[in-house]
Each structure stands twice: as structure tokens, then as C-alpha cells.
Symmetry: C2
Amino acid sequence: MAIHVHSSSQLGEKVETMIEWLASFGKTKNGGVTRLLYSESWFFAQEALKEKMNQCGLNAYYDDVGNLFGRAEGTEDSSSVILIGSHIDTVIDGGKYDGSYGIISGLLAVEYLLKHCGPPKKTIEVVSLCEEEGSRFPITYWGSGTITGKYTFEQIQELTDSQGIPFIKAMKDCGFGVGKFPSPLRNDIQCFIEMHIEQGRMLEQKGKALGIVSHIVGQRRYNITVIGESNHAGTTPMTDRRDAIVIASQLITSIADKAKSSGVMATVGKMIVKPNVPNVIAGEVMFTLDVRHHNEDLLQHFCLEIAQDLQRVSDQNGVNIIAEEWMKVKPVAMDSYLIKISTEVAKHQNLPYEFLVSGAGHDSQVFGAYCPTALFFVPSYKGISHSPKEFTDKLDLERGLKFLIEYLYQLAY
Amino acid sequence: MAIHVHSSSQLGEKVETMIEWLASFGKTKNGGVTRLLYSESWFFAQEALKEKMNQCGLNAYYDDVGNLFGRAEGTEDSSSVILIGSHIDTVIDGGKYDGSYGIISGLLAVEYLLKHCGPPKKTIEVVSLCEEEGSRFPITYWGSGTITGKYTFEQIQELTDSQGIPFIKAMKDCGFGVGKFPSPLRNDIQCFIEMHIEQGRMLEQKGKALGIVSHIVGQRRYNITVIGESNHAGTTPMTDRRDAIVIASQLITSIADKAKSSGVMATVGKMIVKPNVPNVIAGEVMFTLDVRHHNEDLLQHFCLEIAQDLQRVSDQNGVNIIAEEWMKVKPVAMDSYLIKISTEVAKHQNLPYEFLVSGAGHDSQVFGAYCPTALFFVPSYKGISHSPKEFTDKLDLERGLKFLIEYLYQLAY
């Protein structure tokens, strides 16, 4: 059985309007969005979405870490849940679509189905996951991680943000982590579905409207600290220095070269220099390393090579180099049955689609290790993401939503 | 005529005690000192020194930028002044001796002479110069620069510190720059004398007690900004990136290599990365470049080479690279007559001395282009400076002071 989504219903307008509305929470002067976990803008966004979910005919509720759910009770099965959504948090000065589109398209799809087809047979919940990016605290997927049992409160006891604010305090200041809401851990999730912008160029380059993800890359993140010797910039001979900036620069250059030749994605996105003044040789530099590939063995091999480099450079320069791994996620395959249904829906809608590997990490990665999971992409303008310039065309937003409506119909009605 | 400085007068004790006392203003948890221009710790230090100068029998007064003077009127000549001292400001988490020793030794020397020899024939002033390091605002030698006419208030109208606080505001908040005190510009300075720690290893390695400086190196400082493209760390192919951190790292590596081979001192001490998060490719990196040599032509040649590199890298990578020069000081020779007298005093005291070039910039560099100037060094433990580990042995502090007492006696009595 199939559903025909009305073209008349201005779904594109609706998505765009709602994207702009959600972007108004944490809007930056550059036109981007900064919504860090448990910040004020984050909290106001969740509160506003809670109200919106209720307006759309869903029953909205929080769990104890601040994941927000909107539930549409199934007429035949309320013991298991089809979960659909994405994350509400952003990177610093990120885009309007990353995460938001998954929540908004899910919400509008369920609203459409409730309006045109009545309550579903199977229970559907739309989720606004509290955290995915790892931009405030050195932990990622806090939202999906607590739902699936990957994380408990143990993992965040010691964590603080760059201002030194403890994770626990930030969470409690928003009213979470105090047992006021149900535990995030779930055992009733039948499958997870996430719509997202591609954040890459492939769909745009190939002229496709829908990306059906087969695998999500594995990721590892490290803090690498080079401890040299701080000294006077004018009186310490060049040959007599243990300059942490120069040594870090050599490492970063060689990491980038190795990544190019190996096919692995490697990024140094953050650097902290001490004491960080013009006329003093830097005594210490911390830089982050983000490594990704969908082949676990290749990933492992690359990280071992880097570790050997660090050791060699440390020995050659008489400096101490410490590498601390703070994130390790294995590559994950999406569910074949869910993929099969999606191709049928795409064909029924004459939607040009492409199978691809996701280079970005997503909550689907965490759910994928826990329950059948599907991840779908809509095109990103020039592939730009994590930037105020992030953009997806209205037509593409609408095509994604129409796909999702019929897809959800197939799964829940 | 000569003076015999009493060995019994515990001058070493006195210097050490006063160094510790002055270091208590702006002391850091690492045992270093942070006294940035016009900060609270800076202001309290000047106020305390003002009181101490008066206690030592000098007439203390400020000028309109916050340079602090202690005047001992000459019996025969009060129209010209022998100026002696150094700077009160420090780098972030710097040492106790840098700058402070020049002020303290000058003050104790004049106190000693007033006590044992009465008032001088020629007027002596001890000065605590307000700023030399350039650690808070992108300007150096503000103290000596305003005295010698190198700077007026024009140069600082637009300057702000890293917090965005305007220079003008910081100055006025301390009560300066509002015409309450006499203008800093002087036309009555006969010569300038500065005692300082070497901040290098030569005296220690050669077992000498006194460094007589022949030249001070020229210096140039730049802010170099690489403007690439911020993008997603997981979906932007390595070959498709304009990563500001990777490009800055290549530049820093090649600058360090070029410096080693050319004999020039080049230091990148400060880096600012935007947006500076682990999973976002950096769109912009600003780094400082500090270049020094006592040969102006060599300095010029090196800086031109770097400029050509920046152009080449900018063209090759399709990024914008902006280099802004914010400091340019020529090499300066110290006064030959003042050097001659100093060697006679050193010989008279059987003080092992060494002629050397100063790799560090000093206020003497600014005064040297304006009036006869002499700069003397005492040893630095392991040459460590601009660090809490900065140290000079009590005996060396005392030998420097004894030298200065007799030297001042020769010039002013």
C-alpha cells in the first residue's frame, strides 16, 4: 500500500520557515548558530520545540539528560517505538541545517501523517537529541549514547568545558540529571531513522536528491600535547630551542601529508598555545586530531603510524609528547531492510538517489550498533557545513520531507 | 678619583630582598610574575616603588603615561639628568629579575651614594619605565618611546588588548593620559644607563660577572593571518581543503628552517585559531613572527624572503595571507665613552667582564637612538628568562650593584 503526498501542501515553505525559526535560538552575528550543550540558547530551543511538538499533536516529554521526545501513540503497538530525529546542539558558529533538519522534517512528517492518515498503527516518537557534536565538552553523542546505554553519568563526572565549568553543573543548571525526568536508557526502540544534510558535495555533483547511507565512517579523536621549554625569543639560539609551536607545526604538516597519501581523513581543528605571547618561545602546545575512515583496519593502521611519529619526534627533539584518545567510534553499517524500503519509496516518488558512505559522524552511528538504523541525506550547497554558509535549497528540503512522509507511512501505517 | 664600596654593607641581601618584594606584585601560581601595562598589579607595583623611592631620599614623581621617576638633585648641574633604570612591566608569567633588577639596582645604588657621599654634583634620576615588553598591547617601549619622542598618544588611539579593552581606557583607568602629570617628553637627559639580566648563557658559560653591551639587535614583529575556508572535518576531501592550520604549520616550519640556516633569530610565539573546535577545519589562523639580528641588512633580507614565501604559499593554496608589521626597531650601538668608563670601573673592581651583543630588545635601544646610552648585563642561570624559572645568583646581583655604584660615582660625583 502507498500514500500520495499532496504537492499542494507547501511543505517546502513549512520546512524553511521552521529552519529559520529554530536558527533564531543561538543566532550569531555571522548568521550562523551556536547552541552548545546545556547553554541558554540550547535550553530555549528545546523548550520552544517542546511546545511545537504539542501543537503538532504529539505528546512531548524530556528524559533525564535533556533529550526531548514527541510521541504519537500507535493503535496496534505501543510496546515498541519507531524513533526519528537528530540533534539540537551545534558547533560554534555552525549552520542552520545540521541536526535541525532531522528534527524538523521528522516533526512535520508526523504532523502530516496524523492530519491525513490519522494515528499510526505503530508508535512513532520524534526526538531532539541533546548532544552530538562534542563542541562544548570532550564527549560526543551524549544524547544517543545515554538512550542506547553507551554512556551513563559515570563518563561525565570529571568533564569540564573550556571555561572550567563542570558537565554535571551545566546539566543540573538546566534542570536535568536530578531525577526529575525518566532515565534516558530505553529498551523499546524498534528502529532509528535520521534525516540529515549531506555536509559533502557528492549529491550536488551527481545531481541526486537523496543519499541513502550504506556505512558511517569510524572516528577517533585525540588531544596531543607537546611539552617543550618556554624561553626568551631574542637570546635563545635557534639550535638551542625546544619550541613547542615549531614541533607541533612539523607534526601537523606530516599528519596532513600522511592523510592525503593514505586516504584517511585527518583534521587538526583546535590548538592551545602556552604562554601564547609574541616574544616568548612557546613551552606547550595542545592540538586535537580527528581521524576518520569507514575501514576499521585502515583507521587503526594510520593511528599507529601517527603514534610512532610522535615517539620519533619526541626522541629527536628531547620534548615530551602526550597523546590522549578521547573518542573512538567504529564504522557502522546501516540496516539492509530499512535501506530496501527506502529505495522502493524513492523509486515510487521518482526521486534520484545515490548510495554513499557518511564521512561525518551521526547519532545513527550510535543507534546503528544498538538497533536497525537508517540515515538519509539531502544535498548541501557546495558541501559546506559547520559554517554559517551551510545551505540546502528549498526544493531539496521539500523532496526530503516528502520522501520521509511516505517512508514513515510504510513503516508505521 | 675612585670610591671603595664597603663589602660589609650586605648589598646582596638588600637586592634579593627587594627583588622578592617587587615580585609580590603580580605573583603567579607558578612562582612567576604577570604585570601587564596598566593592570592592577602593575599600578600597585608603581605606587609601592614611589613610596620606596621617597624613603630612599629621592623625590618621586610620575609623568603622564605612568613612567615613575625618583630624582636626586645635583649640587652643580640640575639642567641635565643622568637617567638610570629599566621597565616595571613583565610578559605573562615571566620572571622576577627582567626589568626589576635595573630599577632596584639603580635605586639601591643612588641610596648608597647619597648615604656615603652626599648629594651628587650632577642630577641623577632613577626611572621605573611603564612598558617595554609589548605583552598586553601590540606596541613595545611605550615608556622610553614617550620620553624620547618616538611615540605620542597618536600611536595608541586605535590599540586594544586581547580582551578588546582600548589602550586609552586602560591608561585613563590608572589615572594617566589625562594631563594630571607632566608630559613624558624630555629634553634634559644627558645619558641613560640600564642594568639588566643577560637572558642568555654567554656570561655563565664564560664565567664572567659583567656583560658590557656593544650593540643591541634590530627587531621586527608581524601579525601574519592565513584566511582559508572553515568546513566539516569528516566530509571535506583532504585534497579539497583550504585548512588554515595546515598552511600556517607549513609556514612556521619553513620560517624556523630558514632562521637556522641564516643566523637570524625568528620566533612564532602566539597563535589564534578560528573557530578552534576539534571537528571543524580551521578557517583562519593568526600567528605572530618576531625576527632579530644586529645586522640591519641581514634582517631586511630575511624578512623579504619570508614575504616572498607568504606570496608563494598564498598562490599555491588559493588562500589569502596578510602580514602586518607592528614593530620595527633598528640595531643600535652603545656609547663608546660610557663603555670606556665602565671597563675602567670593572678593572678597578677586578670584575671579569665580556663585551657582547644583546639579542633581547631593551629600553636602551630606544634611548640609544636619542642620547648616549650604556647597557650592562649580569648572568642569568642557564640563560632562562621570560619564565618563572628565571634566576640570578645573589653574588652576581651584588657584584652588579657594586659596579653600578662606582660607575655612577664616576659619572655624577
